[in-house]
């Protein structure tokens, strides 16, 4: 029982840290102490956090490689922005943006279902290729439709808002995504999904409906990607489908892998670091991407080293808290012995 409670506490701690982080950012933002550069990064980084945490459901928990996450995001972005443009001026912003996020999520979820159905028969590399292709198909379709603005892109200037308006929505979306993933991980569905990852045949043999859970994972991950996309669309005056190609998918995958498969906190940290890194490396000008690649390799090596892994695990706030508490108990005991 005690162990179970501890894991729940760890989840709560991660959520609390996330909430505190957003509170600090909000204070900085609304008091005007935040630099322009950071302000412009707030929403994209939040979006990447949501994308990484939701992709972690597919890659970390289900253990399948999906390279189509940008496609779902793109679906959500365009459908959400279209709805937002349609509702613009008719309903207040506080209703319009959540509604567009919900719509974006739902459309992406339907997309996830459509992609998921044929992809269910595939595993591993083949699934990765099919999701990659789906991502490209989504991109091409959106580029060639008239109502999405075609190759010129959708003019979202009427609904464009800055980070000051969008931050609360981003914070809520990030917290909800993290909460949903954490709750799911520690439920019968989470166990079923992980058991499929660990051994599909054994999972089937104990009565787990593999098809159902795989599909559910695809739909759920696509939903959050879509919702994040809809929000993301609001911080541009013009959105083009071509900017959400497989490079974005792979970038999200890199975040998930670096953050640790199945680790929600890890995904959050990795998303923040990897998205701010290129900005911080601006001084290096031409060598920027080279340095970025080297840093990536170094992080990869570091996280694969057992000793360093232990070191990083020791840095987890939950572990630090436990150590501190254990130390206090020891002190008390020592005190009572005297």
């Amino acid at each position: 029982m005690a162990k179970k409670l501890k894991t729940v506490h760890k989840d709560l701690l991660t959520l609390a840290i996330l909430a505190a982080l957003y509170a600090v950012l909000a204070v900085l933002l609304y008091s005007g102490a935040m630099s322009r550069q950071l302000m412009n990064m707030l929403i994209p980084v939040s979006m990447y956090v949501v994308m990484a945490v939701s992709l972690n459901l597919v890659v970390g928990l289900l253990g399948e490689l999906s390279l189509g996450h940008a496609g779902f995001m793109s679906l959500g972005l365009f459908s959400g922005c279209l709805l937002s443009l349609f509702l613009n001026g008719q309903v207040p912003e506080i209703v319009r943006i959540p509604l567009s996020m919900l719509a974006g999520g739902l459309v992406a979820a339907i997309g996830g279902l459509i992609v998921g159905l044929p992809a269910l028969r595939l595993r591993g590399d083949y699934l990765a290729i099919v999701t990659l292709a789906c991502c490209e198909i989504i991109k091409s379709v959106i580029t060639n439709l008239n109502f999405t603005g075609g190759a010129l892109g959708l003019n979202t200037a009427p609904v464009y808002t800055n980070a000051k308006h969008l931050l609360p929505y981003a914070a809520v979306l990030v917290l909800i995504t993290a909460l949903v993933m954490m709750n799911l991980k520690r439920s019968k569905q989470g166990r079923a999904i992980m058991s499929i990852r660990d051994n599909r045949i054994a999972a089937e043999s104990v009565g787990i409906n593999v098809t159902y859970y795989k599909l559910a994972v695809f739909v759920l991950a696509a939903f959050f990607a879509g919702a994040a996309g809809a929000l993301y669309g609001h911080c541009f005056a013009n959105v083009k489908a071509v900017s959400f190609d497989y490079n974005v998918s792979i970038e999200i995958l890199v975040i998930v892998v670096l953050g640790g498969m199945g680790s929600i906190g890890g995904s959050v940290v990795a998303a923040i670091v990897l998205r701010t890194l290129p900005e911080m490396l601006r001084e290096f000008q031409n060598f920027r991407m080279l340095v970025y690649a080297i840093v990536l390799i170094l992080v990869m090596l570091a996280t694969n080293n057992p000793r360093l892994k232990q070191f990083f695990a020791g840095l987890h706030p939950g572990t630090l808290w436990k150590k501190w508490k254990a130390g206090r108990i020891k002190e008390k005991e020592a005190g009572s012995h005297e």
């Binding site: 799911l184 019968k188 989470g190 166990r191 058991s195 660990d198 054994a202 043999s205 104990v206 009565g207």
Partner: protein
Amino acid sequence: MSEKNRLVDAPSHVKLLERDLDKRPILECMHLGIDFGGLHAVEDLNITIGPTEISGLIGPNGAGKTTVFNLLTKVYEPTGGVIMIDGVDTRGKSTAQISHMGVARTFQNIRLFNHMSVLENVTAAMDARLKYGFGSSIFRLPAYWREEKRAREEARELLNAFGMSKEEETPAGSLPYGEQRRLEIVRALATKPRILLLDEPAAGMNPSETRELMENIRWIRETFNTAIFLIEHDMKLVMEVCDGIMVLNFGRVIAKGTPKDIQNDPQVIEAYLGRKKEAQHG
């Protein structure tokens, strides 16, 4: 041992335990077969297992024993014949549905959920019996707490019965070999099976562990009220534990009966040891 523990002939040429005669067989196969592109891996297989029987399936390597298990659990779809679980036809059913019908199994090469804890391995097997949906998990509705509590309690009880309650939080992959085998049985029992298929449960065990396993198998039958169908190479275990034995060779049943019948069956001796004449020539 009462009189009723004898194997007797039942109508339509099947052998059943006397105490199971008036009960519906838990597993019935008729003319079951599968071809792998012209190779008849299993052919014309007839099995009848009563609800309280411990039945053994033996045979030389490559005889098709594990294939039989894979057919029964629908890992392979049979190319011929019928499988009935408790009188219900299983045609078109998936592996998961077979499990819901009350068939649980273990694997020859252990297949645990290695990265999940021991407790999670057991509760994962209760998936179909826990009645709450995605909504309850995400929003932590009362159904979630109620069902999870039930799952944990049941799983702990099972683990306790098998002396594994200390390892609850250990990842299944880092358990020692013997315990991994035991956990597979616990996981199978967590599905509340009516028949338990054990694929070489004694493989890799030393004599004292095997003896313990024999007792466990009988105890499982009594405690969990389930029939047991096992594949095993350890003859001592098979002869001592099983009520009835089937011998498979080249995908066909060559003998069927009590342990004593099997020991004296010339065809079985031939399958295992070869023909006498050949031995002399050799």
